[in-house]
Amino acid sequence: MERISPHQFMTLGAAVLLGTTFLPVASIVTGVGGRDGWMSVLPGFAVGIPYGLMVFSLLEQYPQKNLLTISETLLGKWIGKIIGTIFILITGYLGGLLLGQVGDIYQVSTMPVTPLGVFYLGGLLLVFYLVNSGIEVLGFSEVVFPLIVIALLLNIGLSIPRIEQGELLPILSEGFKPIFIGAFKVTPFVMTYMLFLAGIIAFLPTGKQELRQLKTGVWRTVFLVGILDTLVVLIQMLVFGPAETIRVVYGLLVLGKMVEVSRTVAGVESIFLGVWFGAAVLKISSLFFAAIWGLETVFGLKGLKWNLAMGVAFLGIAFRFIRGPSLIMEIGLVDEYLIVPFISLWVPILWGVSLWKKGASVRRMRPQSGGQG
């Protein structure tokens, strides 16, 4: 069975979590949190830490099993299958929507006359190639994460001359409430990561030391991505001000368009988009993986033809939502009304039931050992 190391898990997780979040995050948090919205990113991401620890606690008890298999073990076959079906639908649907977002962003920002289908097909071909190469190759995608970080930092760094410090003030003028609301808006990002985590845990090592490294990996991933996204929101706030940050959905691309380096290179938006595209492919691949793991676990369907069927489903969903606003709205709805409730209930319930069953089995063992002693 293929395996990925704790380090690969961390960088892959960070790439998946960062994936498609750094473009819309500023608009989302500023929309609800105003000029203090940037402070809500890190707390929003931190919500993922207890969930991650619960998942690893389950991994410790059920090594080499994904959460779907664990659900069937703990909650019974049929409840497990219902959960699995919901899981497949959510991951497949979100993956298709994100594929649609690839086409949308490219068409809106740099290539308005190229048909959308070309972008979908290009993205899906890469996703398919990556998925067919196996989870180990996805694990090796740790090589892409530094590229994303460098591109982000360059974009942020090159925008510093345009900063206007006054845009940030006054701080906390409306108290802490906007930060809490903003954090709630960020939570879906980390919950999407949990969807991927639910499937990938079957490929993670389960030794004591490795489990410790994996748990540390979750902390590091969440904080690293949280800090990066905070910086992204902050720079947009400082350059555009709150009103414009809310209005421009893909503000980072606009920042890229404004860059000019010594009259040699200008408008690096298209180069930045190339890096974002890599991150998006990783994220969509992770959802594709999650969906096919679901198919395999719940219905026993696996192999090339089912992967192809899932690819066709992704394409169909991408084509269903043609343009920006409706697509962004749909992603938001899926995030808030499907993923957040699903993960918020599923993971803690599983964890709780596992603890209860563990306690019950310990209680059953006690009288026996007492009798023997």
Binding site: S5, H7, Q8, T11, Y106, T110, M111, T114, V118, F119, G122, G123, L125, L126, Y129, L130, S133, G134, V137, G139, F140, S141, E142, V143, V144, K257, E260, R263, T264, V265, A266, G267, V268, E269, S270, I271, L273, G274, F277, G278, V281
Partner: protein, 523 residues
């Protein structure tokens, strides 16, 4: 239809398990090989070839024993045979007390023990062994109708001496290179590594050619899994002709459909010794000066031996230049096409005006312009390779200059395009390994087409597809992008993008399982 599909399948899918390629037909003497040894039978089988000589003589011992000495003219050292084999047996030992005791029953043992001097003498009793020995350049003496014979190692043929390798010339470092003779090559290696743990395992490949080859590695340093995998893959090859390392390379590499080389090669004993000390395995084949080394990772194709003889800072700079060169060689034309066709906004206005002025009057789109120029360049390179060296160089330089100049003057291509293609060509020469350079040349074309159709999106799709392909490649179980992915920071900083000073190379590279400290640098 079925036969067409079968043919296409045969031509495109490498068989798993035993790789039986062009297996020899069975010959009339195949069944003779298992029969008891006999000089007369051997004579019947081999006498149709005029280069196989049979010298018949009598050994005058206690009884008169008829003998036949068989050898291939041109493969044996005639002087050695005359002076140290035939002369002692026929002249010098006549009347010697030892010879006087020799009968047909003890002639083989007596000859081995006390009649013939020499290091490489042994007894054989199989027909197949006798034929192999004769055709490999050894001499065999048959005694009467005995089913035993003596093989005498008296090989001696014309061969190229140890010369400086053409493909891996360096400024500071040894000048010797491998030659076409297997034993010369193993001796060159042995002179570099004088340690009992150096293992040299002999094999034969090719049912008709019976080519000798050796697998060499250092025990305790090389991973036993990789060694056994190399031996397994080599022994699974079944083909009638094995005329060079290229045959072996295609038969044992992990992914035959990849344009990227998965097995490295060298002509230098010092390079092979260095690689063995890193835990790799060498395959030396008789008849070629090229030695294969496995496993191979991408970054090592961009490093050269000179790096280890130069000061660390110089080596780091050279490596940086090579990595940049490789990147430019892959993406320069496609980026130019994407920028001029789709993403003019990336260029500041002044530069854009200058580029536009250069392209004014050019009737073709940038993609066609670049493709034409690149194909012309490839033709010039190919023509230069096939011609004699001085003419080849002239063709390359004059062709590029004259055709480029003429194309610009005629308004067929823009001057900037000539610069871009020239830069690409020069950058590809910075890639030190020919195989990798070919792969880069091959990758350039789809990237240009993608850039011409889809701009930076196409370039991104192409580059990510190449990246995924590289991530999925393995060379004998070792990830091809190691130590970048999976990330091994020590190896990365030690001897990949940079070459740390010798005093800092305390551990062997972490490409494989072996991670023991090395006592005195790389070795």
């Amino acid at each position: 239809m079925g036969s067409w599909l079968k043919m296409i399948k045969e031509l495109t899918i490498r068989p798993k398990g035993d790789k039986q390629i062009r297996k020899s037909p069975s010959y009339s003497f195949d069944e003779e090989l298992n029969k008891p040894l006999s000089g007369q039978t051997i004579k019947e089988i081999l006498s149709k070839s005029s280069d196989v000589v049979f010298r018949e003589f009598f050994l005058q011992g206690k009884e008169r024993i008829p003998c036949i000495l068989a050898a291939v003219d041109g493969l044996v050292d005639k002087n050695l045979l005359d002076q140290f084999i035939l002369k002692p047996l026929m002249v010098d030992l006549a009347g010697h007390p030892e010879l006087a005791q020799v009968t047909l029953l003890n002639v083989v043992d007596k000859t081995l023990q006390s009649l013939l001097p020499g290091l490489e003498i042994k007894k054989i009793s199989k027909m197949g062994d006798a034929i192999d020995a004769i055709l490999s350049g050894d001499s065999v003496i048959f005694f009467g109708n005995l089913t035993e014979a003596i093989v005498i190692g008296a090989r001696g043929w014309e061969s190229r001496g140890v010369a400086e390798p053409i493909t891996e010339s360096i400024v500071k470092g040894p000048r010797e290179g491998f030659s076409e003779t297997l034993r010369t090559n193993t001796s060159l290696l042995r002179r570099k590594i004088k340690h009992p743990s150096l293992r040299i395992i002999s094999l034969k490949l090719g049912e008709m050619t019976n080519t000798d080859l050796v697998v060499t590695y250092i025990e305790k340093i090389a991973s036993p899994d990789i060694v056994s995998e190399v031996l397994r893959r080599l022994s699974s090859i079944k083909m009638d002709g094995m005329l060079g390392n290229g045959y072996i390379e295609e038969m044992i590499e992990d992914n035959p459909y990849s344009p990227f080389p998965q097995i490295s090669f060298t002509e230098r004993p010092d390079v092979l010794a260095g690689k063995l000390l890193e835990g790799k395995v060498g395959i030396i084949c008789d008849g070629t000066p090229i030695v294969l080394v496995v496993p191979a990772v991408l970054t090592q194709f961009l490093n050269v031996n000179e790096d280890y003889y130069q000061r660390a800072m110089v080596a780091i700079l050279s490596r940086f230049v090579r990595y940049v060169g490789a990147f430019v060689a892959i993406v320069a034309p496609s980026v130019y096409i994407a920028v001029t066709t789709f993403h003019q906004e990336i260029i500041p206005t002044d530069l854009l005006m200058s580029i536009s002025a250069g392209r004014e009057g050019v009737p073709f789109p940038a993609l066609l312009e670049a493709l034409t120029m690149t194909i012309t360049l490839e033709i010039l390179q190919e023509a230069g390779l096939r011609l004699p060296k001085p003419i080849g160089q002239t063709i390359g330089i004059v062709g590029a200059l004259i055709i480029g100049e003429a194309a610009v003057t005629a308004g067929l291509v823009s001057p900037l395009m000539v610069i871009i293609i020239g830069l690409t060509a020069v950058s590809s020469y910075a890639i030190p390994t020919f195989d990798l350079s070919l792969a880069v040349r091959l990758m350039r074309f789809p990237l240009m087409i993608l850039a011409g159709i889809l701009g930076f999106f196409g370039v991104a799709v192409g580059l990510y597809a190449i990246l995924i392909h590289l991530l999925s490649l393995r060379s004998f179980g070792v990830p091809y992008l190691s130590p970048i992915a999976p990330l091994r920071i020590r190896a990365l900083l030690q001897d990949t993008f940079v070459r740390a000073p010798w005093w800092a190379l305390k551990r062997r590279p972490q490409l494989m399982d072996v991670e023991e400290p090395r006592p005195n640098g790389k070795g």
